[in-house]
């Protein structure tokens, strides 16, 4: 199936996590023939790099993140939606007919657009973190954990992702140290308990990472105790960064109203942005809940909002 670039489509969906795929399922069932740009390397979204998802309703025994996304994708296809495995590289959203350009250079036009670009990993912002990325600094435990067998590594962060990564990494590493800036974890109780009960996991609270050390690979971290101000150097051969996410909203900057952190703002409980016919959902909007199920829920809302908008068009 190939996309017809000559016509004006009813709805284009940008992004393919639980939000984008759910919006696709709903708009496809509403006969709106959605075109979904699922991303050339980000298709499936953040869950593609996770392991077991235990809290998505309907899966008594849990499901692997990539499997869940594969199921959603197949469900999208079963309703005849058009999936494009490419990125949108620019968008013009302020007129009645919205114009989007994809990575291959095609222009696609639509009456409505659902933004579901999700979020990207936040970086610590240290020069050496970038330089040593792929040399011991990683953002993906499921991809890279294997390379840290029998090693002592650090995980930066205090939320659920940090706990999940740390637990997963104990399969390979001899010791995993969670380095967290605050006194207490942000993670949910069940995830925090699991990490605390894991004999291979240790915690360094109130600790800020000042620098990543190493010439051509990570050898250690320069740390600072934020309470006492005391600085120290500890040996690690790896650093996994799991300090949170940033919304992927750069593409619509200047067109769409967003808050200081770059999250797209929507009207009340709806998914309507400041532009007519443009809706936003998932992690792009939500800095509070950020769950697969809430993303899916807001994808559904965006689809219904778009459908309502189009029927009154």
């Amino acid at each position: 199936m190939s996309v017809d670039y000559s016509k004006v489509h009813e709805v284009v969906i940008v992004g393919s996590g639980p939000a984008g795929y759910t919006a696709a399922i709903y708009t496809a069932r509403a006969q709106l023939n959605p075109v979904i740009y699922e991303g050339s390397v980000t298709a499936g979204g953040a869950l593609m790099n996770t392991t077991e998802v235990e809290n998505f309703p309907g899966f008594e025994h849990g499901i692997m993140g990539p499997d869940l996304m594969d199921q959603m994708r197949k469900q999208v296809l079963s309703f005849g939606a058009e999936l494009v495995t490419d990125d949108i590289v620019s968008m013009k959203l302020d007129s009645d007919i919205k114009e989007l350009i994809d990575g291959a250079g095609n222009t696609i036009r639509a009456k409505s657009v659902i933004l579901a670009m999700g979020s990207a990993y936040k970086e610590l912002g240290l020069t050496n973190e970038k330089r040593l990325s792929g040399r011991g600094v990683s953002w993906c435990a499921t991809c890279d954990g294997f390379f840290f067998r029998e090693q002592v590594i650090a995980v930066a962060g205090g939320g659920d992702s940090a706990m999940e990564e740390a637990n997963f990494l104990t399969k390979f590493a001899t010791k995993v140290v969670i380095v967290h800036r605050r006194e207490e974890l942000r993670a949910s109780k069940i995830m925090a308990e699991r990490a605390k009960n894991n004999p291979k996991i240790e915690f360094l609270f109130n600790t800020q990472i000042l620098d990543v050390l190493g010439e051509d690979k990570v050898t250690g971290l320069k740390l600072k105790n934020v309470k006492t101000g005391e600085e120290s150097v500890k040996d690690f051969t790896g650093l996994f960064v799991a300090i949170g996410h940033l919304p992927r909203s750069e593409l619509v900057k200047g067109q769409i109203t967003m808050n200081n952190e770059g999250y797209v703002e929507v009207d009340g409980r709806s998914t309507r942005t400041n532009l007519r016919g443009v809706f936003a959902c998932g992690d792009l909007v939500d800095h509070t809940y950020r769950q697969a199920i809430t993303a899916a829920g807001s994808g559904c809302q965006a689809a219904l909002d778009a459908e309502r908008f189009l029927s009154g068009h």
């Binding site: 050339s40 390397v41 792929g134 040399r135 993906c140 991809c143 890279d144 294997f146 840290f148 690979k217």
Partner: protein
């Protein structure tokens, strides 16, 4: 030209002694981003046949080579020219971004 598989036995001839630049994709079966970037590398390999060779090294099967090149994240795509690494791309990226990284070797 489609990408080809490279092993310890062929690495020297196929990569280090190659007359054309060779991009080595260090990957593994269990790595999601590796799978995502695989079709993009196939496309680049086909489109720029003759200018660049793209080969795939399975880090599960060829641990010692991955270790020798200090691979600790995958996918890592190292570009070898005359047996030396001249560029290292870490992590899956969209096609235009990879082509841009390789541009000086594609003309």
């Amino acid at each position: 030209m489609a990408t080809e598989k490279v092993t310890a036995a062929t690495f020297n001839d196929v990569v280090l002694k190659s007359a054309t630049p060779v991009l080595v994709d260090f990957w593994a079966e269990w790595c999601g981003p590796c799978k995502a970037v695989a079709p993009i590398l196939e496309e680049i390999s086909n489109e720029y046949a003759g200018k660049i060779k793209i080969v795939k090294l399975n880090t599960d099967e060829e641990g010692p080579i991955a270790m020798k090149y200090g691979i600790s994240s995958i996918p890592t795509m190292n570009l070898f020219v005359g047996g030396q690494i001249v560029k290292s791309i870490v992590g899956a990226r969209p096609k235009p971004a990879i082509v841009r990284e390789l541009s000086e070797y594609l003309n």
